[in-house]
Assembly symmetry: C3
Homo-oligomer: 306 residues x 3
Amino acid sequence: MFKEKFKEGIITAKDFTRDDIDYILNRAQEMIRNDINSQLLSNKILATLFFEPSTRTRLSFESSMHRLGGSVIGFHKGDVSSTTKGESLADTIRTVENYSDGIVIRHNLEGAAKLAAKFSRIPIINAGSGSGEHPTQALLDLLTITQEGQKLDGMNIGIMGDLKYGRTVHSLTILLSNYDANIYLISPNELMLRNRDKDFLQKRQVKYKEITQYRKILDVLDVLYMTRIQKERIPDVEEYDKVKSFYVFRKDDLNNTKDNFKLMHPLPRITEISPEVDSSPKAIYFKQTYYGIPMRKAILAELLSD
Amino acid sequence: MFKEKFKEGIITAKDFTRDDIDYILNRAQEMIRNDINSQLLSNKILATLFFEPSTRTRLSFESSMHRLGGSVIGFHKGDVSSTTKGESLADTIRTVENYSDGIVIRHNLEGAAKLAAKFSRIPIINAGSGSGEHPTQALLDLLTITQEGQKLDGMNIGIMGDLKYGRTVHSLTILLSNYDANIYLISPNELMLRNRDKDFLQKRQVKYKEITQYRKILDVLDVLYMTRIQKERIPDVEEYDKVKSFYVFRKDDLNNTKDNFKLMHPLPRITEISPEVDSSPKAIYFKQTYYGIPMRKAILAELLSD
Amino acid sequence: MFKEKFKEGIITAKDFTRDDIDYILNRAQEMIRNDINSQLLSNKILATLFFEPSTRTRLSFESSMHRLGGSVIGFHKGDVSSTTKGESLADTIRTVENYSDGIVIRHNLEGAAKLAAKFSRIPIINAGSGSGEHPTQALLDLLTITQEGQKLDGMNIGIMGDLKYGRTVHSLTILLSNYDANIYLISPNELMLRNRDKDFLQKRQVKYKEITQYRKILDVLDVLYMTRIQKERIPDVEEYDKVKSFYVFRKDDLNNTKDNFKLMHPLPRITEISPEVDSSPKAIYFKQTYYGIPMRKAILAELLSD
């Protein structure tokens, strides 16, 4: 059972089988159909610990918690919290677990969520750990894809941008390895998926192809999932300047896409999608933010309800 | 109807007719008379997006929302939010509208609230946009004036301090243009009301007079509305130093005022009102903060209730 | 009656008689026995004003308030609040008292909470004022001691670390002056309890002894209460470097302690307790964070309920 299996929380997309994904997609779809605020978590407190900046993910979790009647405590970077006094993450977790019923954590280090789970008696939800993973974003991406008329099996999906540092991309490819999708990994040479990530896809016999230009395959794609270049994780400013404008998706590009083509982006976007694209029904990146609520409501309801 | 007219939110004081003002003043007075916490907005979420620092306005809105049973999400400067990743305001709004039922925004740029409203399906409330406007402050100021025994029609009001950059002043003069008030605009030459703002007053045939010294007209005033010099908006430090102590209202000044005279200030004050004035019943600037709650409860109730 | 006596808030441990302490300990124990969320404060708002960084204390108060059904507003350093515009603490308090039903304040200046109480009509809770006091921490410490099998009367307690700047220590020794405890004050010479604090203990005829080494008396202690060196309050970096690793409690030390010995720490800890100690049942510093909730629920229930 989902609740039992994930009682320590949601740390990595690797823990998800196809059944697990189907289950939580169903729960999220229920949340959409039955879109009323509930009091399911009215006696629960969620802690949101954001050691890295975030608008979207933090507010999405906090809104979802409120929609379920729950309360929120937490801190987010910019706040100068106790960690400035030199406290370890383990100590912070062993403190906050006494104040709340679940912890959402974003951290600049890759192993942070896993470490937190090791020290916590309450569920930990990984909301982004360095350039590692961001599993709940990938879950809401799958919800978006299925709700917006695409099928995960058989789909041709391009995943484009910063495949090296983009944690969203990592969780998404891992989740997709449970389905029979054709994946085009599109990136500048400097920002290709790392070997360890490709090894994982190969072991799971995922059909993927690495290319640097998207225009030549645009007409075969059902979904193009774009990502921002992760400026804050690229060690060298010059390296960033070289790749920052490598891709700019323009309105003209839409002409070469299938009728049912969908353009996605986890946001924030910088310059990689031209604003003139926003008004197209094929552009569904703002809908993605909408789907974040039912997915996170489903996750919180599963993990925190009695 | 107010709710219908302002369904996109409260962006500028210019949208308010005398009827609109009377209506919302009445609603706020109901909130005062019937000062119990309600559950009117118990299934609603307010987002407070403060791109500029604020204590008063943000906490006032958040308290008002809680007093109506609602929840709050948001960020405020000092928080390093996603906007540090270079996201546009339009994208932020199109995200947060999926997480909440109304957005309160403060921003350093003048057109920010208007732009936000353009992109939002949910109501936007302008909580201060650069040196432009701050309409809900002006509404609570009118509530304060009427509750504290003054009449808007026929009133002699001095508005003093930074009339160039003070957004509160701009919204207040605009609202007052609906009434038959005599306005004394009192400021150093460097900080006079800008021409565009004076043009508006002239078009509306407002009776105003510009002067630099308040003492000579103190005895005719029913209300003196003081403001802080907007240090953060004055480009030149030397210019600020020149005007920062231009006005200091002292206890002695009270001797030259009418019995029913009221001294107001949107706060924070720096040195422009001497603390010895605080204890006078003529000083009602802390009462202003009190009136912020019923006014904002009225506004939130109108805009967010089903 | 407690509620009546502390209607202005909790400012200093000096206000507490033995009866007051017993009363609030009892209330906290009720909260533990009857550990369900209530709606006791469902129509109340708590303001948390943190002018200094905090994770533990702020989240502990906020969690406690939510567990009682209440709402929270506030700011915390890192936030650039209105105080950057130069507002006085008195003005901030006279504003926030109009937005809330109680104020928790942490401030870098010693007299801040007392000053706040002077200007406030609603209860003020001192959550740490400079190197002065932190009374609610000391109350939860006493709760921890009694709940974990020690007796306040007759207890041998070592209080060790930064006795000069550690506000927690100050409130703890003051509370203990109501009991017949033997206190060992253990610190480097540079960080001994200040004379004014020792004068207080002498006046109350507290049995205390000042030493610099803990190992020689470890076997007689029932409780050792360690504290972090308050880096941010030591004026000179070199002075800090000299004392920062003066004490490191190691696993071996446990061998020389009584069976019922308890090691406490208000947290955060830096290096003064080795992590290998954490797993010992004698180490109860994470339990202290747990006891923070029932104690603060008790305090909030007393001060804010109708």
